[in-house]
């Protein structure tokens, strides 16, 4: 499994690296623009990600916008349905409206509320057929 971890806060990023590093290769982006760039680059190199774990609230380009651009890029390449990268959004407990937007408008597959729980993340990976 190849994962892109997108998170601007250091300890949250570290936790995701620890949890996801067990399942294969991962790369890291610290804002939405880097996420979009990394996603496109991986595509161009014909080594796309299997999973993007995307924090919603980040400076500059946020997670919502990054998700929209990732889905738009896939659509442009003719990728639909099962071929789309799996995206887990990560959100703060006090921010439910963002989750709704990510699901209904952005095309996220799943979401997790911070603080990230090892078992919950594993369960989501199973639900998405990634492990």
């Amino acid at each position: 499994m190849k994962t892109l971890i997108v998170e601007d806060e250091f300890s949250s990023r570290k936790i995701l690296e620890k949890f996801l590093g067990k399942y294969g290769k991962y790369e890291v982006a610290v804002n939405g623009q880097e996420a979009i760039d990394s996603f496109q680059m991986a595509w161009e190199e014909k080594e796309p990600y299997d999973l993007v774990v995307l924090d919603i609230m980040m400076p500059n380009v946020d997670g919502q916008e990054a998700l929209k651009q990732i889905r738009a890029y896939e659509k442009d390449k003719g990728v639909v349905g099962f071929g789309e990268v799996k995206v887990i959004m990560v959100t703060a407990l006090d921010d439910p409206k963002n989750v709704v937007e990510a699901f209904y408008e952005g095309g996220a597959n799943s979401y997790l509320v911070k603080p990230i729980d090892n078992e919950q993340l594993n369960q989501e990976l199973k639900n998405l057929g990634l492990i």
Partner: protein, 120 residues
């Protein structure tokens, strides 16, 4: 003054992180980054740069939640909400609570690491 249990839920954090090694590492990361977030936040508040203050306190909120401190997370959330309302009176008073409890949390986490080092 709050007691240690109120400020930091040790067993819950270890369970959530899966093992004690990750737990120690995350505490170390927190102790490195937390003072930076607090300095950024305090400077931004004093300069009335609320967008920068918001970014710093949001990071602190996430970091506090990662190390299992609901108290500091809630304090950070209060500051964040006061910033959104641009309510300076609340920003200053809530920041003062946040600062005090963040310092208490850091002291507890330093002890936690020392305790762990003595064990090994």
């Amino acid at each position: 003054m709050v007691d240690n249990q109120q400020i930091f839920e040790r067993e819950q954090v270890i369970q959530r992180l899966g093992d004690e090694e990750v737990f120690k590492e995350i505490i170390s990361v927190f102790l490195e980054t937390c003072p930076q977030y607090m300095i950024q936040l305090e400077e931004a508040i004093q300069a009335k740069e609320l967008s920068d203050a918001q970014k710093a306190v949001h990071k602190l909120k996430g970091a506090a939640s990662n190390v299992g401190s609901d108290l500091v997370r809630d304090n950070a959330l209060s500051v964040e909400q006061a910033i959104e309302k641009q309510d300076y009176t609340s920003i200053f008073s809530r920041f003062s609570d946040l600062k005090e409890n963040t310092q208490a949390l850091q002291d507890i986490l330093v002890q936690e690491l020392e305790k762990n080092q003595n064990k090994t």
